[in-house]
Structure formats: structure tokens, C-alpha cells
């Protein structure tokens, strides 16, 4: 019981923190004078109350958090907070079901960007702001934030951070103290967000839209305050700003941190993922643009390049904005974009999916085995960025890939069993596990997830959570040995 109490105690602190985060949309509501103000009063009160009571009940618990409890804590944070995050939406739209709004909230926190809401343009600004803020908080990670600002998570914080940060190798220690690392990451995140907001404003968005889109761009979430997403503005300048910051957010934030810290661009060159990420995305943009011209979708290459650049980067980085209904493009393009979403973004970025590093490791591993057939006596290490990658990491990546494949297959099967067509099921599974957002067919960029039934929504809610915590953090809770004393 003691163990659970520690976890609950820490959880209550994070919940209270979350209640404080709700003050921001309340401010927006008061400032714009929209009619959602009451929703926040209720939500903030309920959240703070729940957090406070739990804290009082568990405050006697010991402060030591064990490694195992860390996983439980992370998983609990990521299942409980979406429920509280859904409260303002529920209070404002009582006609919507909890299932749908929990999905919406989860989609926000996991920076997925799949939505069940339509008529976004008519929603009060503060509601859209809250959705964007959820993506921003979840993008870099709530626990990273908690470690950064709450001293009580200092001990064991490194484990928690590892459980939440995506990527196969998490040993990079930017600073000797974990709280400093977390602070550094958030500092870079905030800096880039401010830069993105200013750039969007300069490019022609309203102040509020600029902030909201800066939130969802940096978190690689993809929520927008308009049904037409960024297509609403139809502005090459806004799209260019968006592409730039989506690419920035797709790179490891630890690398950004090193660049700012040392005032040199060398860390970008040394980052083994950054260049492959940019190359793969760049080549895909040009390739898709060429395909679109060949198929006569756009009159000239420059126009095609504009649409390809924005939509390919948006999907590849698992953001999920769209400037056009790319589901109408020749089917190769959207399928290839879904593949990119699974593999492109770097570990330690705010993107989802398998991550570039794992893809590289598997690629190298395959070549290594081929090389071994030719030279059976050779010692061939697997190197990434000049560093040897040890076999245990490769095994972990292979295990991850297996679990990823099984998860993806399982979710697809569940969705087809519940009556979805194959393309919708596959793309919805991929879009949610990779935290991308829009899928294809029935859940394509031009429509929403509102067409799905409750069962399908729950399956995809779980998919988003699994994807955000990179599967193993969640699945470890399902193993009997985890619960054994």
C-alpha cells in the first residue's frame, strides 16, 4: 500500500499543477469575453479539489520512488490527466459524450491531433486555446515539466524522464542534475514556441491564433482553431513558417539545447538523426511534388512543391495539419506520408512513431547480418554517429519493433472487427499509434473521428497512449512480474 501511496501522492501534485495550467484558458476566456468562462471555474475547482484531497490523504507516504513505481506513475499521469483535461470541454459541451471528449483530451496531451470536434471556427477561443495548450504541455512531456519545476521529483526523476522521453537511447545527460536537464529542455521548448508565435503573427495570424498554432506546431500536435486547419489562411508565408518550426520540433531537443548552450551549430552535424531526418523529408517533398505534377494535380511544379512541402512535412513530423485534402492525391503519396510519420522524427523530439534512430538501427542491423554472411569471421559493430551501439540496445529496438508491429496489427484487427473498412482501420491505427492525427478514407484530413463508434474511440484512445509512451512503458504494467513483490 505504501508504494501506491507514494505514486498517488506524486500524482496529486501533478494534478494540482494541471489545475494551475487551466488558469491560462480561463484568462483567455476573460480576455476575449467568450461564454466558456464558467466551464473553467468548474474544471479548475474539480481538478484542484481532487488533487488536494488525494494529497492530504497520502501526504504521510514516504518520498522514495522506486524504479518500478516510476512506470506506474508515468502511466497513471497519462491516463488521469486526460480525464481532467476533458472537464472544461465536458462542462462547455454537455451534449458530447465523455468517451469522445476523453479521446479529444488524450489526443491533445499525446500531441496526436485527431479530433472528434467539428465546427472549430465557432468554438469559443478559450476552448481552442485549451486544446492547443494540452498539445503543448504533452508535446515536451508533463513529467519533464514536473521534474523541471517540482523539486520533489528530483530523486528518481531520471527514471521518470526516461520513461516519458521517446527514443531508444536516453543516456544523453546534458547536465549533471536531472532537474537542470529538464529545465534546459523546457527552456529550449519555450524559446522556440515564442519564436514560432512571433513568426506566425508576422506571417499574418491573429495574436491568439499565432500562440495557439505555435503551441500545436512545437508539440507536433496538429490541433487548429479552424476546420480547414492551416488551409484557412491559404498563405504561403504561414505555411513556410509552419514547415520551418515543424522541422525544428522534429529534431532532438537535447541537440537544440547543446546548440544554444555552446553557441555552435556543430551539435546538429554530430546528431546522427538530424541529417537523415531532414534528408528523408526533403527528398520525399520533392518526390511527392513531382508525382503531383505528373498526375496533373497542380498546374506547375512550384505550386505542387508548396502543397507537398507543407502537407508532407506536417504528416512526416506527426503534426497533422493540412492545407488541402491530401487524401485526394494519388494514393502512393498519402501512404508514403503515413510511412514517413512512423519513421521520420528524431528521438527526443516532440514527434511520435518509431523514430529515426530506431529505423537507422534496424537498417544497419539488416546490413550487418548481410555482411556477416559474406565474412563469417568478421567483427562488425553497429555504429551510429561514430559510436558503437551495443547489442542490448539493438535487441531492445527489435523487441520494440515486434511489439509495435503486434500493436499496430492488433488495433487494425480490432477496428476492422468493429466494422471499419481496411484503409480507414489501417490509417486510423497508424495515425493514432504514431500520434499523427488524421488518417485516410473515413478519418481523412477532411473529416473527423466523430464518425467512429464508442468502441473504436476507446481502442484509438489506448493506441494514442501506447504510442506516446512508446509501448513498453505501458506494457510493462501488464506483466505479472511487475506487480510481484
Amino acid at each position: 500500500m505504501g508504494r501506491i501511496a507514494v505514486v498517488l501522492n506524486l500524482l496529486s501534485v501533478v494534478v494540482i499543477l494541471f489545475a494551475i495550467a487551466m488558469l491560462l484558458p480561463l484568462g483567455v476566456a476573460l480576455y476575449t469575453g467568450d461564454d466558456a468562462e464558467g466551464a473553467y471555474d468548474m474544471a479548475i475547482f474539480a481538478t484542484a479539489f481532487a488533487g488536494g484531497v488525494t494529497w492530504l490523504l497520502t501526504r504521510a507516504a514516504p518520498r522514495e520512488l522506486q524504479l518500478r513505481d516510476g512506470f506506474l506513475f508515468v502511466a497513471l499521469v497519462w491516463t488521469v490527466l486526460p480525464a481532467f483535461g476533458a472537464l472544461p470541454l465536458l462542462a462547455y459541451m454537455p451534449e458530447m459524450s465523455f468517451t469522445d471528449l476523453y479521446f479529444e483530451s488524450m489526443s491533445g496531451l499525446t500531441a496526436t491531433g485527431a479530433t472528434v470536434l467539428s465546427g472549430l471556427d465557432d468554438l469559443p477561443p478559450s476552448i481552442n486555446f485549451w486544446r492547443a495548450e494540452l498539445q503543448w504541455l504533452g508535446g515536451m512531456g508533463i513529467i519533464v515539466l514536473a521534474v523541471a519545476i517540482l523539486p520533489l521529483l528530483g530523486v528518481g526523476g531520471r527514471q521518470l524522464l526516461k520513461a516519458e522521453t521517446p527514443g531508444p537511447m536516453k543516456e544523453s545527460q546534458l547536465t549533471p542534475r536531472i532537474t537542470e536537464t529538464a529545465k534546459g529542455l523546457w527552456l529550449v521548448y519555450v524559446t522556440l514556441t515564442v519564436a514560432a508565435a512571433l513568426a506566425y503573427y508576422w506571417a499574418g495570424m491573429s495574436g491568439l491564433d499565432a500562440v495557439m498554432h505555435a503551441f500545436t506546431t512545437l508539440g507536433l500536435g496538429g490541433f487548429s482553431s479552424h476546420d480547414a486547419s492551416l488551409g484557412y489562411w491559404n498563405s504561403p508565408r504561414i505555411e513556410a513558417v509552419s514547415v520551418l518550426f515543424m522541422l525544428a520540433a522534429g529534431i532532438n531537443f537535447a541537440t537544440h539545447f547543446s546548440v544554444l548552450h555552446r553557441r555552435s551549430f556543430a551539435p546538429y552535424r554530430r546528431d546522427p538523426e538530424a541529417l537523415p531526418f531532414l534528408t528523408v523529408v526533403g527528398v520525399s517533398v520533392v518526390g511527392v511534388a513531382g508525382l503531383l505534377v505528373v498526375h496533373g494535380m497542380y498546374p506547375d511544379f512550384i505550386t505542387a512543391l508548396r502543397y507537398a512541402a507543407f502537407n508532407v512535412v506536417s504528416v512526416a513530423t506527426t503534426t497533422g495539419y493540412s492545407s488541402t485534402d491530401y487524401a485526394q492525391w494519388p494514393i502512393f503519396a498519402p501512404l508514403w506520408m503515413l510511412v514517413l510519420a512512423a519513421f521520420s522524427t528524431c528521438s527526443g523530439s516532440t514527434g511520435g512513431g518509431i523514430k529515426m534512430m530506431r529505423a537507422q538501427l534496424m537498417f544497419h542491423q539488416a546490413f550487418r547480418e548481410l555482411e556477416r554472411i559474406v565474412h563469417p569471421r568478421a567483427t562488425i559493430p553497429l555504429k551510429l554517429g561514430g559510436q558503437v551501439v551495443h547489442n542490448n540496445i539493438i535487441f531492445a529496438v527489435l523487441a520494440y519493433m515486434l511489439v509495435y508491429g503486434v500493436t499496430m496489427g492488433g488495433i487494425t484487427l480490432l477496428l476492422t472487427a468493429s466494422g471499419l473498412d481496411l484503409l480507414t482501420a489501417v490509417s486510423a491505427a497508424a495515425a493514432c499509434v504514431n500520434n499523427l492525427g488524421p488518417g485516410l478514407a473515413a478519418v481523412g484530413p477532411a473529416s473527423t473521428y466523430a464518425v467512429l463508434n464508442d468502441f473504436q474511440i476507446w481502442v484509438l484512445t489506448a493506441a494514442m497512449l501506447l504510442g506516446r509512451l512508446e509501448l513498453l512503458t505501458v506494457f510493462v504494467l501488464l506483466t505479472p512480474s511487475f506487480w510481484r513483490k
Binding site: H375, R377, A378, T379, I380, P381, K383, G386, V388
Partner: protein, 457 residues
């Protein structure tokens, strides 16, 4: 000259061997009494037991009136500290240290007067690596040596039956390569030196030493020997310090395979090389050599720690079809046994590295010394100082200079200009003169030529 050698390992021993014969007072320091005793039995020198970096040990070794300290212990740090102490505590005028870690070499302040007061750092592994890398670049040569910061090269080639050289007079060679000035400075025939003149005829099996400006080396080699096809594939047996350095030096331009018998070492190697393929196994494992198609190799280099392994490995490789084999052989008797046999080139590490040290031991302003033919001959580069009055060289034509027998002036480097020596070439002040000495006994006389003095005329 009073010289203290710190460390009686392979390098220390071979340095001692070659210096002891030149009337130097040698003291050698080591922590292994067994090793010292063996050395003392063999050579005429003093030994001191103790840690080379301890002031008391240095004092006992006579650092107070030593002319030169050569720190060649296993550890860079010991060598550095010893040099610093020698400089500051005992005022030893010249200090040489063996430094392996490139980290120290890259940092200027480590070696300088602010740091550890090292006049010259040597890295035997690097010297050997450069040596072998040259052989890869010039596969026709037995040896390629640099003078005057690489402006002039001395190449050794073996003349073989049917080659373009054999059976011709040397003066024909000059007509053959118009526009390129080159000079054959010595010929070794059946281990005896011949001082060549225009009428000398080269025979099959002769070892020919030829001096030319570095940029013409390829043309000269083409003339001396039919050009082999360039090296593409190299197999290195032994992944020690030399094997690793060599693999790293060659892997960009050649396809490199490296054989290492220790599994853990080969993992370490694999981590440090970029493109080279690391194989785990014995250099003498026929099956492995077969599997990795040793017959396709242009060059097989055996650089393990073990002489016998190197010999057997390279013999096997040669038998199995490797085009050219090179073996690193420490034991002098083995080297003599094997040169010009089935092993194309036997490299003696001691001889390869001794030159760098010798330059500092020689009297006069000697810039570079290369030991040739296992120490029997020497090529040295020295600077002529003074004027017509104080020097025996300056202001004189080469034919006027009183050279000891068996000695040839090969070339003169004046600033950036390389002048091949002719009988009427005039030596000027500050010229770098490259002298070839086929008989080591004449060395003191040669050294004397370069010393600035008064009243010897």
C-alpha cells in the same frame, strides 16, 4: 655524449644498441631488474633501477651532467614528468619523449616550455605506420624516406632480371628521364656497397638507392622498375597499436582487412576504424586467409607482436597468392635471414625509429637521419653553417670537398629549391645537404664536416 635512456623496453633497448656503438656514455633506467641485467650483460652501459619519473632515480642516473634524456617508457605520463624534471631540476639541455596519445600532441602547451619541456616527441607506432603507408603508396619501393620536410625523397628499389634498369650503365639513366634530375647515391650488391659512378652497370638483385625531388618520385620509380599495378586491397595481420594506426591511415583510400586474434581487441578495433573490416582469427590460419581471399590482396602486412607469427603469416600469405608481403620483425638475426627471400620487405621497428633519435645525437646541425640496411648505412640531412673560413663545405664545389670514402653528397636543398648534386655544385651557407654514408665507421668524419670550427685548415 652522456645520454640517459628511460625505459628498457623494445624501443629503449634498440636505441641503446645503436647508440652504444658510437662512443656514447649510456645510462638506462627501468623498473625491471631482470631486463636491466640482461641488457648489461650484452651492452657496455650503466643501469639504474627505479621509476624514471622519480627525481632521486634521475639524480642517480647522472641527470645533473647528462647531455640528452630519451624518455621511452611505456607510459606517456612518466615520460612527460621525467622530461620536465630533467629540464627544470637537472638542466639537461635536450629531452626526447615518446608520446603515444595524440591528445597530448594536439595540445601545444603540453610539450612546450610552459608544459613538460619536451624538445622532441616521438611515437614509434606512428613512424612505423608512416613507413608502411609509404610502401603502400609506392608499391615498387623497398623503402621511401623523406628529407627537407618532404621536398626530397630517397627510394630504395630492387633491380630484377628483365627490368628496365638491369644491364645498363648509370649514365644511360640520365638520358632516359630527360628533365628530371635524379641521382643514384648507392648500390648494394650482395650486401656490399658500391659507390656508383656513370659507368657502373646495375645487375639483377641489386638494391638501388635513388634520390630525387619528391614530386618526381613516381616518374623515377617508373623508370627504375616496371610499374606494378597500384595497391587496392590491403590485409593487415595484427590489430595492435601499429595495425590500428595503419588501418586508420589506409582505410579511406584502400580496401583494408585487419586480422586480430583477440576477440575483445577486435571489438575495440572495429569500434575505432571506419571502413576497414575487422576479422577475428589467427594470421596463420590458412582457412581464414582463404575465406577472406588473401590471393586477391595487393599487400599483406604482418604487424603482430610476435616475430614468428609475422614471418609465418606472411610466408603463408605469399604462398597463397598475396602479391607482396611485408613483415615486421624485431629480431635482427631474423631480418637478415629473411630480406630478399620470400618476404618482400622485412621491417625492423628499431631501425625505422632510430633515425629520428639519431638526428638529435649527431654533432653538427643534423636535421634528419635515416638508418638504412639495418643500420649498416645512413642517410643524413645536415645544415651547412658558417662561411668559407669557418666551414669545410661552404663556398666549395662538391669535387673540392674532402669526403671520406664511401660517402656521397646526394642533393642540396636551398630554401625551396632542390638541387641534385653534381661535381660542380657549390655549397652555400644554410644549405641543407643530404649525405649518404655507406660505411658507418666514417660517420664521425662526416659529422665533423658540418661542425663550424676555427683553425682546422
Amino acid at each position: 655524449m652522456k645520454i640517459i635512456i628511460l625505459g628498457a623496453g623494445q624501443v629503449g633497448t634498440s636505441v641503446a644498441e645503436s647508440l652504444v656503438s658510437e662512443q656514447n656514455d649510456l645510462t638506462i633506467v627501468d623498473i625491471d631488474p631482470q631486463r636491466l641485467r640482461l641488457l648489461q650483460d650484452r651492452l657496455d652501459l650503466r643501469t639504474v633501477l627505479g621509476s624514471a619519473a622519480h627525481p632521486s632515480v634521475l639524480a642517480e642516473a647522472g641527470a645533473a651532467d647528462a647531455d640528452l634524456v630519451i624518455a621511452v617508457t611505456q607510459r606517456d605520463e612518466t615520460n612527460l614528468v621525467a622530461c620536465k624534471l630533467a629540464a627544470r631540476r637537472f638542466n639537461v639541455p635536450r629531452r626526447i619523449a615518446r608520446i603515444r596519445a595524440t591528445d597530448y600532441l594536439d595540445e601545444e602547451m603540453v610539450l612546450g616550455a610552459d608544459g613538460f619541456d619536451v624538445d622532441l616527441s616521438i611515437c614509434p607506432e606512428q613512424v612505423l605506420t608512416d613507413y608502411i603507408a609509404k610502401l603502400v603508396a609506392f608499391p615498387e619501393a623497398l623503402q621511401v624516406l623523406d628529407f627537407a620536410h618532404g621536398r626530397v625523397s630517397l627510394v630504395a628499389v630492387r633491380a630484377y632480371m628483365g627490368g628496365p634498369l638491369v644491364g645498363r650503365q648509370l649514365k644511360a639513366l640520365r638520358q632516359h628521364i630527360p628533365g628530371i634530375d635524379t641521382r643514384i647515391v648507392a648500390i648494394f650488391r650482395r650486401d656490399r656497397a658500391i659507390v656508383p659512378d656513370g659507368d657502373t652497370v646495375i645487375e639483377a638483385g641489386d638494391e638501388v638507392f635513388c634520390l630525387a625531388a619528391t614530386k618526381y618520385i613516381r616518374q623515377v620509380l617508373r623508370e627504375l622498375r616496371r610499374m606494378d599495378r597500384p595497391v587496392k586491397r590491403v590485409m593487415i595481420a595484427g590489430g595492435g597499436n601499429i595495425g590500428l594506426r595503419l588501418a586508420r591511415a589506409l582505410e579511406h583510400d584502400y580496401s583494408v582487412r585487419i586480422i586480430e586474434h583477440n576477440k575483445r581487441r577486435s571489438e575495440l578495433l572495429a569500434a575505432q576504424v571506419k571502413k576497414a573490416l575487422v576479422l577475428t582469427g589467427d594470421a596463420t590460419d590458412e582457412e581464414l586467409l582463404e575465406q577472406e581471399s588473401v590471393s586477391e590482396m595487393d599487400l599483406f602486412v604482418a604487424v603482430t607482436n610476435d616475430d614468428e607469427n609475422n614471418i609465418m603469416g606472411s610466408l603463408l600469405a605469399k604462398r597463397m597468392g598475396a602479391r607482396r608481403v611485408v613483415a615486421l620483425i624485431n629480431r635482427k638475426s631474423y631480418v637478415d635471414l629473411l630480406q630478399s627471400g620470400e618476404i618482400d620487405i622485412a621491417i625492423s621497428p628499431a631501425q625505422a625509429i632510430i633515425g629520428t633519435l639519431l638526428a638529435h645525437v649527431r654533432r653538427g646541425d643534423v636535421v634528419a637521419v635515416h638508418s638504412l640496411r639495418r643500420g649498416a648505412a645512413e642517410a643524413l640531412e645536415a645544415v651547412a653553417h658558417g662561411d668559407r673560413e669557418s666551414s669545410r663545405l661552404i663556398g666549395r664545389r662538391i669535387e673540392e670537398i674532402d669526403l671520406p670514402p664511401g660517402t656521397t653528397i646526394g642533393a642540396v636543398v636551398r630554401g625551396d629549391e632542390v638541387i641534385m648534386a653534381h661535381h660542380d655544385t657549390m655549397i652555400e651557407a644554410e644549405d641543407h645537404v643530404i649525405v649518404f654514408v655507406t660505411d658507418k665507421k666514417r660517420l664521425p668524419k662526416v659529422e665533423k664536416l658540418f661542425q663550424v670550427g676555427v683553425g682546422f685548415l
